[in-house]
Amino acid sequence: MNIGTLLGALAALTLSLGASAAQPVKIGMITTLTTKAGYLGEDIRDGFRLAIEQEGGTLGGVPVELLVEDDGRKPGKGRQIADRFIRKDGVRIMTGIVFSNVALAVAPKVVRQGVFYISPNAGPSKLAGKGCDPNFFNAAWQNDNLHEVMGQYVQDAGYKSAYILAPNYPAGKDALAGFKRYYKGRIVGEVYTKLGQSDYAAELANLRAAKPEAVFFFLPGGMGINFLKQYQQAGLAERIPVFGPAFSFDARILKAVGDAAVGVKNGSQWNWDLDNPANRRFVAAFREKYGRMPTLYASQGYDTARLIGSALKATGGKPEDQDAFRKALEQADFESVRGAFRFNRNHFPIQDLYVREVVKDDDGIRNVTLKKVFSDHGDAYADQCRM
């Protein structure tokens, strides 16, 4: 071998070394950016991006590249994107899915292929219980949590009877089951409405006739807007207090509901006014960058990014070292914007849960934190998880 080839080979070697050092870790985000629910994915993505930007294009000091794709709320499309992420882009870390049915189609499949999936939203019971997986993490909540906290709150507040409503689909049934797990008063009506229903006059008339002391509902998106507007127009808002999970009362929905939402109490793991340094920094930065209030979804996207950052930092940016990366994720060594946060044995959060109240003040209609209801709350399915 002459000296020229040797030098050439050396040069090539250094070049390729240099290239691999600068190669960012790819994070695949499959989320819902279109359809009516598109703003959920938009906020998760924007929160996630904010975290990357704050660290100058890195997470935990490791350069990252965020690939974002829209699943259109369709499980099949989610699977296709996941396949492409894994095969074509070599993605080892995935996140982003908003809806449980998409998550159930995608997450179990990708974790089997040695990919880490960190959910910023969907937390179906199946993945928290029997279907839990060492490579699956949820950085938001188990689906029942935000209903459970309202059950406990309505119970503590001494309401003796409740009328409860949800759409007639699996998540609706889970929601009411979660509420009933902690509410021990009398249920004077348990109603499952049509998915996508616009008119609630018939339900409201029955509700009035049943004379409950409290109303709990889970009607995500437009259904909740319809229900609340009509609830107020029917003159019920002054008579029977309404309770629900945070999903029907995020900053964007409040704008569309207007005064009809004022006074409603809702359960959440996060609010903009939670007093901790990480949250203050997050809310200020989000408002400055995007010109709107962050929703809980944005906070979840942001936390998910920073959780991934903590694990990248601990492993020197090597998700392919699975055991080390998993251990680092389990530590959850990051400052969550919701305050105390750690993982349960099923890789779902143990966290505090709050009740917020919708108020109208000089800054418009918004949520203020009323009370902490659960401290270090896990979920009902962790015991079924074997891993």
């Binding site: 008119d199 018939a202 319809n226 507007k229 704008k255 569309a256």
Partner: protein
Amino acid sequence: MWLLVEQLLNGLQLGFMLFLLSAGLTLVFGVMNLINLAHGSFYMVGAYVAATLSGAGMGYGVALLGALAAAGLCGLLVELIVLRHLYRRDHLDQVLATFGLILFFNEGVRMIWGRQPLFMQTPAWLGGSVELLPGVPYPLYRLAIIGIGLLVALGLYLLIARTRLGMRIRAGASDRQMIAALGVNIRWLYTLVFALGALMAGFAGVIAAPVFAVESGMGESILILTFVVIVIGGIGSVRGALLGALLVGLVDSLGRAYLPRLLGLLSDSEAANALAASLSSMSIYLLMALVLAIRPRGLFPA
């Protein structure tokens, strides 16, 4: 007892709401033999424009006029640019093209207004409720919907039965070639009918905006009901649309109100509850199947 009266009112109100939408749809089908899936898009445009104008501080009247103008204009443009080329085509082609229009309008609304659903205040003089029945306050706005629906039905009847334009519309529906041979500009007649349909859908949108969520895709959830209405009423018949709408409104409302209770009497189990929820969601489709079994072309075949 009063509850039943209240539920009947709810049914009537939903029925008139559906009538406003289905009258335009059935007219377009009857006269032009065109299936227009994008009818709900005009409803959405009406609601969005009304919510925007009223959000900008304009009165309800201005919002209404602006929304009607916008919906009518959209109808006009859609007819001139797209549908005009589809009259001679198969119904399947029309379904495909108008489905495309739905996607176009939904995405267009997202581009202009964003994903944030809009808010629209009930006009102050229609806010509040009246104690129509002892102890049961009924929202004034919902009563107004019933009144408006009646007026529109009357107006449409007069338009179709008593005016020259109405005569041409009826003639166009029964024999297209003959009316063209008699020197009526059938193209413009079609454009006019279509714009009228769009206008009525936009009107329904304005009425719906304070009650329902104003969001992209809001037209599709109600469009399905509207199609059930016109199938029950007899496709192409405005009278059928009125009767069909009231039937669907009543069956849907009363089903949702009473089926769970009726089945609860039979058994108190989870299964009865689940069955009631499914049955009340299905009730209008059962009604449709029943009507079609007895009168295959609807109640008032055109």
